[in-house]
């Protein structure tokens, strides 16, 4: 009657014990490969056979209960929609959690306060090991009080003036890399189309832009720094000004802005990179990899943010209370900066 059981009625350890003719203790020992447990080869084999025959699956919930620890890590995200970004954070967190034998409980709040309260309550009731509180876009945030009831770390956001640990992208270094890409090609008049909305990305990338110039010994003409809405429309609309400034290269606040800029340039019969070198930010796959020519950009490390968040939470990676771990933004060079 050896068949991989379909657990209509869930098989318990006691049943395995009975079938193997041993006690539950013995079953527990062999199932968990207990270190200091000396089980006879014969008994062990019988147990293993019974496990297979019955299609036994341990009940983690019961195990957690008796051990007083759960292997849950909660991830609350303010948005999962719109872009692949949140998905990457989830993926990074999930895979890293797994690697450490933990399981991710995901809750999406769409920035709704009630949903957030419910989500946290739920996680606390599941006795999570800790909570990752993440936002879709890098920003400062207020901490919901319930977070204090368990260990937590912020992902892609930070709480100024608190002792909370955070994991965020290194915007400054990213801005520096993006600008350096252009500088390295010999560009000296590099426009920067920054976003209009105040954010760490806005400040950080601008600072990076300045630092890169300083490192290269190039003076920044502040007139080259523009603001535009951080979408295709913004980039499209900025083209005129960029051209008027005599820039030969442009660092765009994000890939969508670059996409809009591409359109505007094309309409004027200008070619990238021959007439204008362009660098984006975000590495939004659907866009950056498929523009003509493919867009050089700097990637936002969402996967890494999620993964690092888990490591910090589990104490695998140390971050001082109140400090932020800055994760590097890798450069993705493509064809928009040098003719081939």
């Amino acid at each position: 009657m050896t068949s991989t059981g379909r657990a209509d009625r869930t098989v318990t350890m006691r049943e395995v014990a009975e079938r193997a003719g041993v006690s539950v203790t013995t079953v527990s020992h062999v199932v968990n490969d207990k270190a200091g447990a000396r089980i006879g080869a014969e008994a062990r084999a019988r147990v293993q056979q019974a496990v297979v025959d019955l299609g036994y699956r341990p009940n983690v919930l019961a195990k957690n209960l008796v051990q007083g620890t759960s292997a849950f890590i909660g991830l609350v995200a303010d948005s999962i929609a719109t872009t692949p970004f949140a998905g990457q954070i989830i993926r990074g967190a999930q895979e890293e959690a797994w690697r450490h034998g933990h399981v991710l409980l995901v809750a999406n709040t769409e920035a709704d306060e009630a949903a957030e309260r419910d989500a946290l309550a739920m996680m606390l009731e599941y006795k999570v090991r800790g909570i990752l509180y993440s936002t879709w876009t890098h920003r400062a945030t207020q901490l919901p009080p319930a977070l204090a009831e368990t260990d937590h770390v912020l992902v892609n956001c930070y709480a100024p003036g608190t002792a909370t640990r955070a994991v965020v992208p290194d915007e400054v270094a990213g801005g520096r890399s993006a600008t350096a890409l252009l500088l390295a090609q010999g560009h000296r008049r590099i426009a920067f189309v920054n976003t209009t909305s105040p954010s760490p990305a806005r400040e950080g990338r601008l600072q990076g832009y300045r630092e890169a110039h300083a490192e290269a010994g190039v003076e920044v003409d502040e007139a080259l720094v523009l603001d535009a809405s951080p979408e295709q429309e913004g980039g499209y609309g900025a083209a005129e000004r960029i051209l008027a400034l005599g820039a030969t290269g442009v660092f765009c606040h994000n890939d969508r802005v670059a996409m809009g800029l591409y359109d505007a340039l094309r309409e004027r019969g200008l070619r990238v990179p021959r007439d204008m070198a362009v660098v984006g930010f975000d590495n939004q796959e659907v866009i950056a990899g498929h523009l003509r020519p493919p867009l050089s950009t700097v990637a936002l490390p969402h996967y890494e943010l999620g993964a690092a968040g888990v490591r910090v939470l589990l104490g695998e990676q140390r971050v001082e209370p109140g400090a932020s771990l800055r994760v590097a933004c890798p450069v993705i060079p493509r064809d928009s900066i040098s003719a081939r």
Copy 2:
């Protein structure tokens, strides 16, 4: 000493009972708002006060154990990366699960068999109520054996020749809608840039294209049906052929193809929609909403797929064994089909 407790050491029901001077049963009754339980107003108040004072959070794991039911629903996804699509399925499933008092356990397998086995094992050990098995792109799939150990439904995929229930997008109706959009504007020579990869999307949308023509009493010139790789590059490359065919409107297999086509048209000095009306598919926000002009398209109902999957799993929505629930693909009209 009324303070919202920070649960360093987790507070149990027994402690609440002691503080309130009642038995655990009473606490259980008031905490769960038990229907047939007559608890004195006085005792109830004392319990509620104790709950607050101690910062008590029920332990769902223990509750699940005794009740023999868990509130977990597993969602295994083959990919969470690349696009926002998987994210939307997750979001739909998560929110619908919540609405029914359930919690989503997410596992990402990146199409890796071992990861998939582990994911299923994990979910089974957590005694999930059922599993949603989803793929990133609509397709036929093989069922991993472990799935048979619990209730399950397929999301965005299907298993031909099995009794498994599935929830998939209605590609045919979607293709029909997209084509009808063009037909309604008076277009009679409508090119269809289909994908080169065999898939339900390829067959379904083509059938929809034909059906729409039939309904409008327009003969289909088969020469108007082209194949191209389902990305920007494919659309860009198809422009020449489309123009040669004398089409006045194009239905693109997806938004990315449409984006590539836009580029090619612009390079030739042609305008959308004046010189060519364009309709996409997928409603990939980052693209469709921000092309110039914004692209009319048909949305893939990923959120709904996830939500419907949960409903089917929980028996809220009936689907015959072996059958597929087809979810409508809503039309998203924008400016790419008629001059304003």
